[in-house]
C-alpha cells in the first residue's frame, strides 16, 4: 500500500488566503522560523507590513487599523500571544471588531509528547480568553484560514489560526 505524504503548508498559500480575504495590512513580529513568509509578504504590492516592537502592540495597532477601515491579520508566535493578554482583552475582545490572528504554534507536535511549555499553554490560553481557533498544519488545512476570516466577520470577535507547521515550509532560504 502506498501512503501519500501530506503536502507541507506553503507560505504562498497563506499569502493567497490573505489576498482572498481582502487583507490590506499584516501586523507582525517575525519569529525565527518564518523569514521566507516575511520576505514573500514584503513583495506583495497590495500588502502593507507593520512591524511592531512587542506583541502586545499588534492588537492595539490592529484596532486602530480596523477603526480606520482596513483589513488586517496579526502574525505572531504563541509566546507573544500570551504576553499580549491585556491587549487582547482590551483592544480585541472588548472592542467588538473582527480580527484574525495567525499564531506560530511553537513546540507543537502531534507525535510524542509536547515538551515546550509554550505549546502546552497555547490552547489553554485561548480557551481562557474564549477565543475560537483552527489548527493549520499542512496545505490541505489552509482553507481554514478563510473559515477564520468568515467567523471573525460574522461574530465581530477575534479568531485564531494556529500554524502548526512553522518548522517546515516557512523558512526557506
Amino acid at each position: 500500500m502506498v501512503q501519500q505524504q501530506a503536502a507541507l503548508l506553503r507560505p504562498e498559500t497563506l499569502v493567497d488566503e490573505f489576498k482572498k480575504n481582502g487583507v490590506t495590512h499584516v501586523v507582525t513580529i517575525p519569529d525565527s522560523e518564518t523569514n521566507y513568509l516575511y520576505e514573500l509578504m514584503k513583495e506583495q504590492p497590495w500588502l502593507d507590513i507593520v512591524p511592531t516592537s512587542r506583541e502586545g502592540e499588534t492588537f492595539a495597532v490592529a484596532l486602530g487599523l480596523t477603526v480606520g477601515g482596513k483589513v488586517l491579520v496579526c502574525v505572531i508566535q504563541n509566546t507573544g500571544m500570551m504576553e499580549s493578554g491585556d491587549s487582547i482583552r482590551g483592544m480585541a475582545l472588548d472592542a467588538g471588531f473582527p480580527l484574525v490572528m495567525l499564531i506560530g504554534y511553537r513546540g507543537w507536535t502531534r507525535h510524542g509528547v509536547v515538551t515546550d511549555s509554550a505549546a502546552r499553554y497555547t490552547e489553554t490560553f485561548l480557551h481562557a480568553m474564549g477565543i475560537n481557533y483552527y489548527l493549520v498544519e499542512q496545505e490541505d488545512d489552509a482553507s481554514r484560514i478563510s473559515v477564520a476570516f468568515e467567523e471573525a466577520k460574522a461574530t465581530s470577535r477575534p479568531v485564531a489560526v494556529l500554524i502548526g507547521d512553522e518548522y517546515h515550509g516557512f523558512n526557506r532560504t
Partner: protein
C-alpha cells in the same frame, strides 16, 4: 511645568480638522475644551497601548491629521512604540506627551526615573521626523502653530502640573467621558468609514 487645561486651550485654535486622542489623567481636560467632538476618538483599553492604536489609525487614514496626547506613564509601559512609529514614518501623526512625572491617578507615585528621563531625546534617536520639548505655556503657545504644520511623525514632550487623585476609587467624582464605541461610531460616520 504648565497646566494641561491651559495647554489644550492653546492647542485648540490650531487643531483644524485633526482627529484627537487623549490618555491619562491630564487628558481628561480635553473633553471640556474640544470644539469638534465628532473628531475626538478614544482608543484606550489596554495599559500603555493607546499610542500603538493611534499609529494603526494614522496608517489607515493617511490623509487625516492624527494627534495623540499621550501620558508618560502610558508611554513607559510601551516604549517600543517609539521605534514602531518611527519605523512606519506616518507623516500625519503628531505625538504629544503630557509628562507630569507621576502616576497621578494612583496617588502621585513617581514613574521610573521621573525627573531625569528625556522622552524627546528618545523619540529623536528612535527616528521621529521632529521633536520638541516645553516646560512652560508661553513657549508652547508660541510654537504650536508651526508644529502643527510640520511633517510627521512629530513628538512634543511637555512638562505638566500633576493633578493627583488620592481618593479611594469609589469616592471619586467621575467626569463623564464618551464611551470608546460611541467615539468610533461617530468618527467613522464623519469620515465615511465602513468596517470591511
Amino acid at each position: 511645568m504648565f497646566d494641561s487645561a491651559d495647554m489644550f486651550r492653546a492647542f485648540q485654535p490650531h487643531r483644524g480638522k485633526s482627529i484627537v486622542l487623549v490618555t491619562g489623567t491630564s487628558g481628561r481636560d480635553w473633553g471640556d475644551i474640544s470644539e469638534d467632538k465628532s473628531r475626538d476618538l478614544t482608543l484606550q483599553g489596554a495599559m500603555g497601548q493607546t499610542n500603538s492604536a493611534t499609529l494603526g489609525f494614522a496608517l489607515a487614514q493617511p490623509n487625516e491629521k492624527v494627534v495623540l496626547f499621550d501620558s508618560e506613564g502610558s508611554l513607559q509601559m510601551n516604549l517600543g512604540v517609539l521605534a514602531t512609529i518611527a519605523g512606519k514614518k506616518p507623516k500625519n501623526l503628531f505625538h504629544f506627551l503630557m509628562d507630569n512625572e507621576c502616576y497621578a491617578t494612583t496617588g502621585g507615585q513617581p514613574v521610573p526615573n521621573a525627573s531625569e528621563i528625556n522622552y524627546a531625546g528618545m523619540a529623536r534617536e528612535a527616528g521621529y521626523a521632529a521633536t520638541y520639548e516645553f516646560d512652560n505655556l508661553e513657549d508652547f503657545t508660541n510654537n504650536i502653530e508651526a508644529i502643527m504644520k510640520q511633517e510627521g511623525p512629530v513628538f512634543v514632550a511637555m512638562k505638566m502640573v500633576p493633578k493627583v487623585e488620592n481618593e479611594p476609587i469609589g469616592r471619586r467624582v467621575r467626569r463623564p467621558q464618551r464611551p470608546r464605541a460611541e467615539t468610533i461610531r461617530v468618527l467613522q460616520a464623519e469620515l465615511g468609514i465602513t468596517v470591511a
